[in-house]
């Protein structure tokens, strides 16, 4: 029993090593002076960071990424909130289909979404722009927003909204004074999580962006060339940004939820 427990623990550790080692490696190699990433390591350098910071393409891509993930997260969270609230508050015909249209996108391979959106956006003339990526990313991220906010609403006392009406708040006022404040942690969490997903998405972005690359698409294009340690530097930055976003998202929801669940 003892040994099997230790074996299991070791195994869990191995799984975590497998999951996190690429990230760690990427960070280490981003400071490695050798052009080709080999062991033993060369000397310490910040050369690759200097290279990318001097690269106009990088800054352009970073700017695009920022705009896209900011806008996509705002729109997706708005859509997710509306849908979650509708589902929470009302019972109506076609509710299953209604939930289906928001929850389905993550189950469809990104490459298919990419092709479908590229074709459709070209057809209606909204392809190849920064806003094309934003539209696409809202579809991909809204389900996450919806799920987070819906779970939060599940934790709400069923009578809370009615209590606000009962005390003289109209539906709109109750929305502002009760529903929104109650959902705030989930909304914050949703904003950060959807921003993270959007910030990392490259397949659809690559297809619909035309010349307006985002950071991950920029990475994709470097990778398609030769092995360039720049990738480790860009990758490390991208990873740090998205990891920060996801951690904030998790903290917002976990900590607030735990507190009010007691």
């Amino acid at each position: 029993m003892r040994t099997s427990d230790w074996a299991l623990r070791g195994y869990v550790l191995l799984v975590f090593v497998f999951v996190f080692s690429p990230v760690v490696m990427s960070m280490i190699f981003s400071f490695n002076s050798d052009r080709f990433p080999t062991i033993p390591l060369g000397g310490f350098t910040t050369h690759w960071y200097e290279t990318i910071f001097a690269d106009e393409d990088f800054w352009k891509a970073a700017q695009n990424s920022l705009i896209v993930s900011l806008c996509a997260s705002l729109i997706a969270t708005f859509l997710g909130f509306c849908t979650a609230y509708s589902d929470y508050r009302y019972t109506f015909r076609g509710q299953g289909a209604y939930l289906g249209i928001i929850l389905l996108p993550p189950t469809i391979p990104l490459i298919i979404m990419a092709l479908a959106m590229l074709a459709w956006f070209s057809k209606v003339g909204i392809s190849g722009q920064v806003y094309s990526i934003i539209f696409a990313h809202t579809v991909l991220t809204a389900p996450f927003a919806m799920a987070i906010i819906r779970l939060r609403l599940n934790q709400m006392d069923e009578s809370l909204e009615a209590a606000a009406w009962n005390l003289g708040a109209s539906e709109w006022r109750a929305m502002r004074e009760v529903i929104l404040p109650f959902c705030l942690p989930a909304i914050v969490s949703s904003l950060f999580l959807t921003a993270a997903v959007s910030f990392d998405e490259f397949t659809v972005a690559w297809f619909v962006s035309g010349l307006n690359k985002t950071l991950p698409v920029h990475v994709l294009e470097i990778v398609q060339g030769t092995i360039d340690p720049q990738v480790n530097a860009v990758g490390t930055l991208v990873f740090l940004v998205s990891m920060t976003l996801v951690i904030i998202a998790q903290l917002a929801i976990f900590f607030r939820l735990n507190r009010s669940a007691k």
């Binding site: 799984v15 690429p22 080999t38 062991i39 249209i101 391979p109 590229l118 996801v246």
Partner: protein, 281 residues
Amino acid sequence: MRRLNAYALTFRLPIIIWQAIFFIGPLFFMIAMSFFLVKNYRMVEAFEFKNWDKMLSRNYVWDSYWYTLGLAALSSAVASLVAFPAAFALAYRSSESVRRWAIFLLIIPFFTSYLVRTFSWYVILAESGVINAGLGYIGLGPYTMLNTMFGTIVGYMTLTLPLVVILQTVSLASADRSLIQASQNLGCPPWRTIFAVILPAAKTGLIVAALFAFILSFGDFVAPYYLGGSKPPTLPILIIDTTKAGQQWPRAAVVAVIMMVTLFVVAFTAIFLAYRKRGSK
């Protein structure tokens, strides 16, 4: 039945309109597009089966199809098997707080930088990479790991393993513990408890986890392209090649529709198996 008012519509309508334009529209257009024609590098709207005939009669498409299907199935199996002991340990041999932290940590990679992590494997698995360097010290290798099926599977695991561990852990942890204890009290050896009690109790969650691994692997192009060497190309790579080179969007759409149909069949089968009542076998 409550009458619809402005308030209700304000919250109900946005997603319907938005998804109609940016989700349903694209999907249906893509299906329609698979029947379009391409003349002089321009797409012409039509309703012909030309693309379907072409694609379905090509051997390389079918090779690619079976290869992709096999890889995704293999990935799903490997992810499930590799994840299970870890999920088991987290569900039954860890405290509540350790489990929470583990899930907290595993959510991070699921939402971050798959591309960067895959590329990092490229560095780790390379002929002169970290693993071969390590093996070299003890006089082994070098082994070729890049551009092999092994490389592809490692890439798929990067994508799927965190999610599969999370889903399995949650479903195991929520399975009825009293059953497991009863089984142990009745003197069942541990591995029989796993097969006779734990697996059936957590069946739904385990199948759903495997299904997600399948869907993610089936649609991924990064792992088979960068780590697997794209020989033969998988369906997603086929879509990229067909789309990016030569404006053959309708043919890419054919491949995409084939993929979607396949996924539907697999998903429905999996869900049927997952929710089938026990004892009907």
